[in-house]
């Protein structure tokens, strides 16, 4: 599905795909010892999701080093992470600094959503069945690691930016970033197991730029 740029926006639109040419390591299968009714008897952990035909990588975070960093002024938007069937949905989330991050659970078991930046806790809250969701505004850009201590196989990530030029790749590896100012930019791709990759791109004043970024 080709992505179309939004008309009327200022700046150009950067579209592209992140692909993986190597061999995908086999997934890890873990036996669930807690709450198998909700979580299943076993879990298949595959952080590197590659689309079979496009070779696109899902859940990579693409961003452009922002020149005009700006805090978010629109505080009505909330980004949410939902605990569902003992997994974080979405598994990888990108967020603008200044936006509240909400964590909630749909499962009938206890989860604790434990989010860290480096060694510092951002949030560690218990989500009991039928309990309240919890929201907290993200104030610092960077990588946030999400885990549930009650179910060790539950892992996720949030990447926070102090500018609006970022996107998370979809199932086929596609992404789209709108309103990119003209000029040469450094595009950064981050994936939880593959790490970070940089790519130079020159953006015209108006129109689309299409790129393909390859791992490794």
């Amino acid at each position: 599905m080709p992505l179309t740029s939004l008309a009327g926006e200022t700046g150009a639109t950067l579209v592209g795909r992140v692909v993986f040419r190597g061999t995908v390591p086999p997934p890890e299968v873990v036996t669930v010892t807690r709450d198998p009714k909700t979580c299943g008897e076993t879990r298949t952990i595959q952080p590197l999701v590659v689309h079979p035909s496009t070779r696109g990588i899902q859940n990579a975070v693409v961003s452009i080093e922002g020149e005009n960093t700006s805090p978010n002024t629109d505080t009505t938007k909330t980004t949410a992470i939902t605990n569902t069937q003992c997994a974080f949905s979405p598994h990888v989330e990108a967020i603008r600094v200044g936006t509240p991050l909400e964590v909630r659970s749909h499962d009938p078991v206890l989860h604790n959503t434990h989010i860290m930046t480096g060694k510092r806790t951002f949030l560690n809250v218990a989500l009991v069945p039928g309990g309240h969701p919890v929201a907290k505004v993200i104030k610092m850009p960077g990588l946030y690691h999400v885990q549930c201590d009650a179910h060790v196989f539950m892992q996720g990530s949030v990447v926070a930016f102090d500018h609006p030029y970022y996107a998370v790749t979809e199932a086929q590896g596609d992404f789209r970033i709108v309103g990119v100012p003209a000029g040469r930019h450094q595009v950064t791709v981050w994936h939880e197991t593959l790490g970070a990759l940089h790519h130079e791109v020159t953006v015209p004043a108006q129109g689309d730029v299409s790129i393909t970024i390859e791992f490794p």
């Binding site: 010892t33 807690r34 078991v109 206890l110 604790n112 434990h114 989010i115 860290m116 480096g118 060694k119 510092r120 806790t121 951002f122 949030l123 560690n124 809250v125 218990a126 989500l127 009991v128 309990g131 309240h132 969701p133 919890v134 907290k136 201590d149 009650a150 060790v152």
Partner: protein, 259 residues
């Protein structure tokens, strides 16, 4: 056995009263350069061996504290804090730090009540200078409910039901002995990736955050950052009584009988 337990609770209560007395505060010096400089001198005599010259928790005696397991001395430069009155993820207030230095941390850090109150404030000012976040963030204490209701068999029974509903037993075990399946499996890790175990709740004297009902309510509301122990604030805000009941139940685990 019951006799010994009663004695322990009694001494816990005495301890709590003793500590309450020490938190009457002297005039807190201004957080200026001179205060920090005085604090540095105290830090280098008293804290450096565990917390390290640069506050990274890597002092020459630090590794031996937990060895291959949690905890190692706090890394003031990058870690969060366990013992707070503030919401999960926030820095502690100055009062929180003062309480930690005064009481110490059972098992791991001795009480520095032997420093004068002024000296304690000075060393705190210095400790805060290790992390620039103390300049930009303004930690605010959570409101920890109204007056404590009296404990009764029913309140303790309600507390027990909450303990089960909140699935504390996942980590702490159904009898509170710290032997819940998640902890027993050895899966729990602290912020430095060191193995950590859920606290044995039948030993209140080992509680780092204190073991008075007020202390326990604070622990439940704030969680212990850097450990798996989560904040239950979202579940307990507006239901202060439930927090008290849960605390009363936790204390009943060690007293062996209803008070």
């Amino acid at each position: 056995m019951a006799m010994r337990r009663r004695l322990m609770t009694l001494s816990a209560t005495i301890l709590a009263i003793g500590l309450a007395a020490t938190t009457v505060l002297a005039v807190k010096p201004e957080g200026n350069r001179a205060t920090r400089e005085n604090g540095r001198v105290i830090y280098e005599r008293s804290c450096l061996f565990c917390h390290g010259a640069e506050g990274k928790g890597d002092g020459p005696a630090g590794w031996f504290i937990g060895r291959y397991e949690a905890p190692h001395p706090r890394d003031f430069t990058s870690e969060g804090f366990k013992l707070r009155s503030t919401e999960s993820g926030s820095l502690p207030t100055d009062q929180d730090l003062f309480r930690t230095v005064t009481r110490g941390i059972p098992g791991y850090m001795p009480s520095f009540a032997g420093l004068t109150e002024t000296e304690r404030w000075q060393v705190i000012a210095y400790v805060k200078s290790f992390n620039p976040a103390f300049q930009t963030e303004t930690p605010a204490p959570l409101l920890l409910g109204g007056p404590a209701p009296l404990a009764s068999p029913t309140s303790i029974e309600t507390g027990r039901a909450l303990y089960v509903r909140f699935e504390c037993q996942a980590c702490h075990g159904i009898d509170g002995r710290g032997d819940g399946p998640v902890s027993e499996a050895g899966d729990l890790k602290d912020a430095s990736g060191l193995r950590i175990f859920a606290t044995d709740l039948t030993r209140p004297l080992s509680f780092k955050n204190g073991s008075s009902p007020q202390d326990l309510v604070r622990t439940l509301m704030t969680g212990l950052d850097g450990t798996p122990m989560p904040s239950y604030a979202a579940q307990l805000t507006g239901k202060e009584d439930e927090a008290w009941y849960l605390a009363q139940y936790l204390l009943s685990l060690s007293s062996g009988s209803f008070p």
